[in-house]
């Protein structure tokens, strides 16, 4: 019997990189989250497990608020519900002074249920069902109009109430970034906004008091916000002069990045993602140089990702090991793209719960789904892991616990590590009963 043949290989070892104690590899170890050991969290609450840090949430909010207030006198942060609408997370931001930014009936109702008054809600989104739109009007929400049909709906509601309604206009425009999100609101360059404004003025039932734009997501160009702010100021002055309205707020939307690693970017986020202070400066410069002194409309920011992403972690466990035909190692984790929707766009930081000996080698991290697309990371660099090893993926605080799917398996618990170091469940794991509760079996199938 001949021995199996392997083609001869020689690999150069990056000695300094491998052996140096303070190398980036030792930073790939995360033993605790805000002082609570990863092992303890997983043993107590199970794996996989989403973990949020209250300390990080509050610190990031305070930092951003002070940063922008240091540049411009009137700033309001409106918490983007779609980014993460877990009650506990929203509560933290509302306690810190954020209003609510919602885009649907569900989100509006969730904010109201949490005790947010209507006049502390910014209502965006391309489809606002008539009923909820009426409720929002009556409760004094800031409504940013997305389409002409919505204007017709609002005019009808205004007829019912007999009062003139105050609305905001959503505007899309060229700020020099690609792709251009031109589906929200009315286009500036084509003159659509002014046509709509003329139509609103002629109707006599609505009054424009705010302008809103949302340029996109994970925008790495601070100057784009400066250009957006300039264009909105110019537009507001035109509207004030032509129609006699007073523009009380300029809402620059969201899209501010977190330190996550966008796929296709070669550089690490510490280098590729501009500091948020640059965004604050570009926006404030555009506003302060164009606005008449003393006349400062409220600046509204709908930061979601930049506030929450880096406060979220996912603890997951290696459940099986494989060797792929091309020689790479592969690991099957208990969390996949069902929980990590953002894995399609970002390379997460992958950390191991403890120091593991052995040279790091490229490997693939698969989730537990029986689907080829269930890849958490195509190419992680990890030492040989044993079954049962826990990994910590981050940042995962934005969009994952809203866009996760109940697919093939249950969704796990979410815990919050509080400021005094307690871990508290903020969402229970799903059970079979949760999932089948809404199903019905017709009589003849029983």
């Amino acid at each position: 019997m001949k021995r199996p043949y392997q083609k001869p290989t020689i690999l150069k070892l990056q000695v300094g990189f491998l052996r140096e104690k303070k190398s980036s590899l030792s930073r790939m170890v995360r033993q605790e989250i805000d002082g609570v050991p990863v092992a303890e969290l997983a043993e107590k609450f199970g794996s996989p497990l989403f973990v949020f840090s209250e300390k990080r949430l509050r610190e990031q909010f305070r930092y951003l608020k002070r940063l922008f207030e240091g540049h411009y006198p009137r700033v309001e942060f409106s918490w983007s519900y779609k980014t993460n609408y877990l009650d506990a997370i929203c509560r933290i931001f509302h306690q810190e002074g954020a209003t609510a930014e919602v885009v649907s009936n569900f989100e509006y109702e969730k904010a109201r249920r949490l005790g947010v008054p209507g006049d502390q809600i910014v209502f965006n989104g391309p489809y606002k069902p008539k009923e909820i739109l009426r409720q929002a009007v009556l409760e004094g929400a800031r409504i940013n109009v997305d389409s002409l049909d919505e204007i017709l709906d609002l005019e009808e509601i205004a007829r019912e109430t007999g009062e003139k309604l105050r609305i905001g206009l959503r505007v899309n425009m060229d700020t020099g970034i690609y792709p251009r999100w031109d589906r929200f609101g009315f286009n500036l360059e084509s003159g659509e906004v002014l046509n709509v404004a003329r139509r609103i003025a002629a109707g006599g039932r609505l009054e424009v008091v705010g302008l809103h734009c949302h340029q996109g997501t994970f925008i790495l160009e601070p100057e784009a916000y400066g250009r957006a702010a300039e264009k909105l100021v110019d537009l507001s002055q035109k509207l004030e002069n032509d129609f006699g309205w007073t523009i009380e707020y300029l809402d620059l939307g969201g899209g501010f990045p977190s330190r996550n690693r966008l796929k296709g970017l070669y550089l690490p986020p510490e280098v590729a993602v501009p500091p948020l202070s640059e965004y604050a400066e570009k926006i404030a410069r555009a506003l302060l140089t164009r606005l008449p002194a003393g006349d400062y409309p409220l600046l509204i920011l709908e930061t979601g990702r930049a506030l929450v992403d880096e406060a979220g972690f996912l603890i997951t466990t290696v459940r099986a090991l494989k060797r792929l035909p091309d020689g790479r190692r592969a690991y099957i984790l208990d969390a996949g793209v069902n929980l990590l929707f953002t894995a399609f766009w970002y390379h997460f930081r992958v950390e191991v719960e403890r120091e593991i000996p052995g040279p790091p080698e490229p490997c693939v991290l698969y989730g537990p789904l029986c689907m080829n697309i269930d890849v958490v990371e195509e190419s992680a660099l990890l030492p040989p892991l044993a079954r049962g090893t826990r990994l910590v993926l981050s940042p995962v605080g934005a969009y994952n616990v809203t866009q996760w799917m109940q697919f093939i398996t249950y969704r796990p618990r979410v815990v919050l590590v509080t400021e005094n170091g307690n871990a508290e469940v903020i969402r229970e794991a799903e059970t079979l009963e949760d999932i089948v509760r809404r199903e019905k079996i017709p009589e003849h199938l029983k």
Binding site: R3, K7, P8, T9, K12, L13
Partner: protein, 82 residues
């Protein structure tokens, strides 16, 4: 000959004292390195690989040349052999 200066362990760890660089070779790579140091020709090594693993001499020779090219890229192989 550069090859003589390399420190080669039984596990396939290769150290070049001249540059301080380290390398790992797999089992087949280790076999080739050892036989080269013993002064065998490429054809003789291919013959051994044929006996050990049952691959053809042609394939063995091609893989040896591939391997030597990789060695040359690391500056570990300079001489034209055989």
């Amino acid at each position: 000959m550069k090859l003589k200066r390399l420190a080669i362990s039984e596990e396939g760890f290769v150290f070049d004292p001249e540059t301080g660089n380290s390398y790992t070779v797999n089992e087949t790579g280790l076999l080739i390195l050892k036989k080269l140091r013993e002064g065998l020709s490429l054809e003789e090594i291919a013959e051994i690989m044929n006996e050990e693993y049952g691959i053809s001499r042609e394939e063995a020779l091609r893989d040896i040349q591939d391997f030597l090219e990789a060695m040359a890229r690391f500056g570990l192989w300079e001489e034209k052999y055989g």
